[in-house]
């Protein structure tokens, strides 16, 4: 029995090596989607956070409804709604990659907005008072005084959310995006070696995420220790 397990579950380097070029192509797609989505997501997050903190009630409401809607629904449902739901409308058409980027960006944006809001609110109000007493208006205060300090504080949580979003991109394989996971699925079925392919798939995700957190650590050390 033991031998049989090993026979099926043996590390087969040839299968891994043959699959690697395909997996690397998938990785490129994953990183491409991730980078674009995370940048858009961050911008969404910043805007929604400022809406949430604005003195205008209507903007508060928009922000709150958006965040609650995204937080209260599963990622995969959001993905299906945007890809299948919106695409079923006559005037609407987007590729699965676009739909994937949009979903990851909106999803990350909602979580980013809460992180950014908390970061802004964590800055002592004396900072705003000092800035305003010098004559800075509220936009200048945000830009030069509050946000730079808030971002330093938020960085670990931002990294955390970015990692979650990177992992979320693997769900895009469900709508056929040729990302790392999708390539892995194809390779696993072609080689009949699910054990080795999914093992190496996990290792690749792990390495990418590990590098990402090292990058975040580096930025943190460089800018945060004040």
């Amino acid at each position: 029995m033991r031998a049989a397990f090993f026979l099926k579950g043996d590390v087969r380097m040839d299968n891994i090596i043959n699959a690697l070029p395909y997996l690397m192509e998938g990785l490129q797609v994953t990183l491409y989607i991730f980078v674009i989505a995370i940048i858009i997501g961050f911008i969404i997050g910043l805007i929604v956070a400022l809406f949430r903190l604005s003195p205008f009630k209507i903007l508060n409401w928009i922000a709150k409804i958006f965040v609650d809607a995204i937080r209260g629904t599963p990622f995969i449902v959001q993905l299906f709604f945007i890809y299948f739901g919106l695409n079923s409308l006559d005037f609407f058409s987007m590729s699965n990659t676009t739909a994937g980027i949009v979903t990851v960006a909106i999803n990350a944006g909602a979580y980013f907005s809460e992180i950014i809001r908390a970061g802004i609110q964590s800055i002592d109000k004396g900072q705003t008072e000092a800035a305003r007493s010098l004559g800075l208006n509220s936009t200048q205060n945000m830009r030069y005084i509050i946000l730079p300090q808030a971002f330093r504080r938020m960085l670990p949580t931002i990294t955390n959310q970015a990692i979650i979003s990177l992992k979320d991109t693997s769900l895009l394989s469900v709508i056929g995006v040729a990302d790392l996971t999708q390539e892995g699925k194809i390779q696993a079925s072609q080689t009949f070696d699910a054990f080795n392919i999914y093992l190496i798939l996990g290792v690749i995700y792990f390495i990418v995420i590990y590098l990402l957190s090292m990058l975040a650590n580096f930025i943190e050390r460089k800018f945060v220790l004040r």
Partner: protein
């Protein structure tokens, strides 16, 4: 010339009426010290003078401009009114130099060289030239407060407001900060100082305001107010602090 005119100033936080009806006038180059028990409204009074607190009633005129009139640009007016806080409120992510040059560069359009030249003059004045490249976290409380004064002066304000500038300092730091303020007063800066330093009020104040219960109970030259207080509440307060 009148720098500050306060007319029937009222301030409420919700149902709590903190300032009930205050009127006074501060002339150019005058040093006004504001004293009173804690919770009497003296910090709130000061913070109404640059509208850090929204004013509930009455008028405050800074150099003739009504700051309660929404048509007047409060950000512009604040450039002429420097403020120094009890908790310093330096910008921790910026060096001392950047703290001092930020507002002149962003608001007055000074270039970096001009702003830094001016900043070095001010840091000389407060005795901290060698700390220009330090971050606030590397300074003592007294040094922080002197940088905060330099930062406020960098905008060439017509008026300086001090909100208990020495209350958060270790005793041995208080003297340095008071010395800087005394220099400023001698140079003719118009100053309103909320303080617990009765020695400073007696020495430097042209007038002292005693605030209690949301009213200016008594105002007079320091010699009279400290030597010959007219109201019972002033007497009671002074007997506790002198």
């Amino acid at each position: 010339m009148t720098m500050i005119r306060v007319e029937n100033l009222k301030k409420s936080f919700g149902d709590l009426e903190v300032l009930k009806d205050m009127s006074t006038v501060v002339e150019e180059k005058e040093v006004i010290c504001v004293i009173g028990p804690s919770g009497s409204g003296k910090s709130t009074f000061l913070r109404c003078l640059n509208r850090l607190e929204e004013i509930s009633g009455g008028h405050v005129y800074i150099d003739g401009t009504d700051i309660t009139d929404p048509k007047n640009d409060i950000n512009k007016i604040r450039q002429d009114v420097g403020m120094v806080f009890q908790q310093f409120n330096l910008f921790p992510h910026k060096t001392v130099m950047q703290n001092v040059t930020l507002a002149p560069m962003k608001l007055k359009g000074l270039d970096k060289a001009a702003a830094e030249k001016k900043a070095y003059e001010l840091l000389d004045k407060v005795g901290l030239r060698e700390k220009a490249k330090a971050y606030p976290g590397e300074l003592s409380g007294g040094q922080k407060q002197r940088v905060a004064i330099a930062r406020a002066l960098a905008m060439d304000p017509k008026i300086m407001l001090f909100d208990e500038p020495t209350s958060a300092l270790d005793p041995e730091m208080v003297g340095d900060v008071l010395d800087v303020m005394k220099d400023l007063a001698r140079e003719g800066m118009t100053m309103v100082v909320v303080t617990h330093e009765m020695g400073f009020a007696a020495e430097m104040g042209d007038r002292v305001l005693f605030i209690d219960g949301g009213y200016i109970v008594e105002e007079n030259i320091p010699k009279e107010l400290f030597g010959n207080p007219q109201h019972e509440r002033t007497k009671a307060f002074l007997s506790k602090v002198l």
